[in-house]
């Protein structure tokens, strides 16, 4: 791929530019996480006819900052009987897993940290790392609730990886590429070129639209499960498991879990945006199209998906663990498989 990273053009490939490329998403994640936390607080408040945080800064917009400061100040408790190394390592591994996925996310046509050809594959491979972190944290805490939470989390992550993978695979079949930048480029033009509406092509693609819309929905639901959000938040199901795998964590390590959750939310939203919602493309053809607008569109779309995730969280109750498996294996998997076959047939017959 030529020209995937404007920094290479600007600065050449040296240690500084590499560091900058690495740190740009990190800075973005930190700022984004604060905004997402604020959004969660405020949206939940408005839905429930509350005002939400109002006393930190104007309209309480500094509340997430205050919360992070509070978490940093808090005592960092390590349970006496815990496995110290794993216990301390777990939050970093989870955050690393979430953060590493940013390597292939195309923020703009001129910026993707690493435009590798198997980007989607990489994302799925890296996504499983957080499962490892959860198990480490849950097991090392030496707490029964944590252990149960960790076990639930892993079974959940493994089950929902499959329908999500089918959804992504269908797009790979349609686009015949796994490079996320490539997939984004393919959807240039008006919004009906997005893969949620069957991707670019002639009017004959109308047959495939129901399936792609369904796949978008399937991917979105699976992504909720992968990020442990309501209604699939049973690993940390507050009413049963107190806080699930991070029951024993406090202070900065808890903040890492917190950040990782929001980073993960953005990752899945970004993938959804890239493969179904046209990535960094403007919905209106050439209007507001370009490298800088691309960043705007990409973040705007991804953030809207995050907002929907938040909105769902404050609407729905939580599944039970066997129902979660039912939904994963008996509803999402067959449906995604059907959609996958339909799309494959469409591509073959085209």
């Amino acid at each position: 791929m030529e020209n995937t990273n404007f920094l290479w053009d600007l600065m050449g490939k040296n240690i500084w530019s590499v560091l900058l490329v690495i740190s740009l998403p990190l800075m973005f994640v930190l700022v984004y996480a604060l905004i997402a936390i604020l959004a969660e607080l405020k949206i939940s408040a408005w839905i429930q006819e509350r005002l939400g945080p109002m006393r930190t800064g104007p309209w309480g917009i500094l509340q997430p900052v205050a919360e992070v400061v509070k978490l940093i100040q808090k005592e960092d408790i390590t349970p006496d009987q815990s496995s110290k190394l794993l216990y301390n390592l777990a939050p970093f591994i989870i955050f690393t897993g979430a953060y590493a996925a940013f390597a292939v996310i195309p923020f703009s046509e001129a910026f993707v940290p690493s435009g590798i050809d198997v980007g989607l594959f990489y994302v799925f491979a890296i996504g499983s790392i957080s499962a490892m972190g959860i198990v480490m944290g849950g097991w090392a805490s030496n707490n029964k609730y944590s252990l149960m939470g960790a076990m639930r989390a892993v079974s959940q992550l493994i089950s929902y990886e499959i329908p999500a993978a089918f959804a992504v695979l269908s797009v790979v079949v349609l686009a015949s590429s796994m490079n996320m930048q490539e997939i984004s480029k393919m959807q240039t033009g008006w919004f009906w070129n997005w893969f949620i509406f069957g991707g670019p092509g002639s009017i004959s693609k109308i047959w495939v639209i129901p399936f792609t819309v369904g796949l978008t929905l399937i991917y979105f639901i699976s992504s909720l499960a992968e990020t442990n959000r309501v209604p699939f938040d049973i690993p940390e199901g507050e009413s049963e498991l107190v806080a699930g795998f991070h029951t024993e964590y406090s202070g900065m390590k808890f903040a890492m879990f917190f950040f990782a959750e929001y980073a993960n939310m953005f990752v899945v939203a970004a993938i959804l945006t890239t493969i179904f919602l046209g990535g960094w493309n403007s919905p209106f053809g050439d209007f507001m199209q370009g490298p800088w607008w691309g960043v705007f569109w990409f973040i705007a779309k991804s953030f809207s998906v995050v907002l929907v995730q938040i909105w769902i969280r404050w609407t729905l109750p939580r599944f039970r663990v066997d129902q979660l498996m039912y939904v994963g294996w008996k509803v999402l998997l067959p449906l995604s498989f059907v959609c996958f076959i339909a799309i494959s047939l469409f591509v073959m017959l085209k």
Partner: protein
């Protein structure tokens, strides 16, 4: 099979219905208020911290009897007629009892309002004040007596003098008092 799709559909549709309801609520006028800046007005009969008006209190002990948690401590001394310091109640009657100690432990108080109803002269009453938490329990121990310790000692001395003076007549007086008390109680019951 049909049931399966029905279930999937009802799951999706009820989710969307719920999301629609929550979405509507995003734009509803909020019901919470900014507490320390804005406040709700309390009703007049709100039962919060107690206050005592000493010029009304005649030391009759009925609040102490009514209190279910024994949070009121009351000590009284009879007023000596020779005391140059005499007080009148709000209604003009002369004070018969010096309240040398009137203390309420608000850590114990359960705000039931039984003392205010028992008080014959409306001396003890609830106020609208509800923010008086404190870091120490001792700070919740409110002292309502207006007499200084010196004055209290003085009153006690006066009363002792009075008793000493009445000593010859004490035997008669005591029996009279004892007789008088049950009669009063009977009247109250009626």
């Amino acid at each position: 099979m049909i049931q399966y799709f029905k279930n999937v559909w009802s799951g999706l549709s009820s989710t969307f219905l719920g999301m629609y309801i929550t979405f509507k609520h995003l734009f509803v006028k909020k019901v919470t208020i900014q507490y320390p800046d804005q406040r709700f007005t309390l009703p007049d009969n709100a039962r919060n911290r107690l206050k005592l008006e000493m010029e009304r209190c005649n030391g009759c002990n009925s609040c102490v009897v009514a209190c279910p948690v024994n949070c009121i401590t009351l000590e009284t001394v009879r007023v000596s007629p020779e005391d140059p310091h005499q007080e009148v109640h709000h209604n003009g009657n002369p004070r018969k009892m010096w309240v040398t100690r009137y203390e309420i432990d608000f850590a114990k108080c359960c705000y039931c309002g039984l003392c205010t109803q028992a008080c014959p002269s409306d001396a003890i009453q609830h106020t609208q004040e509800y923010e008086y938490s404190s870091y120490k329990r001792e700070d919740l121990y409110y002292k309502f007596q207006t007499l200084s310790p010196d004055q209290v000692a003085e009153k006690h001395r006066m009363y002792a003098e009075l008793k000493a003076k009445d000593k010859p007549a004490k035997a008669e007086g005591a029996t009279e008092e004892k007789k008088a008390k049950p009669e009063e109680k009977k009247e109250k019951e009626q």
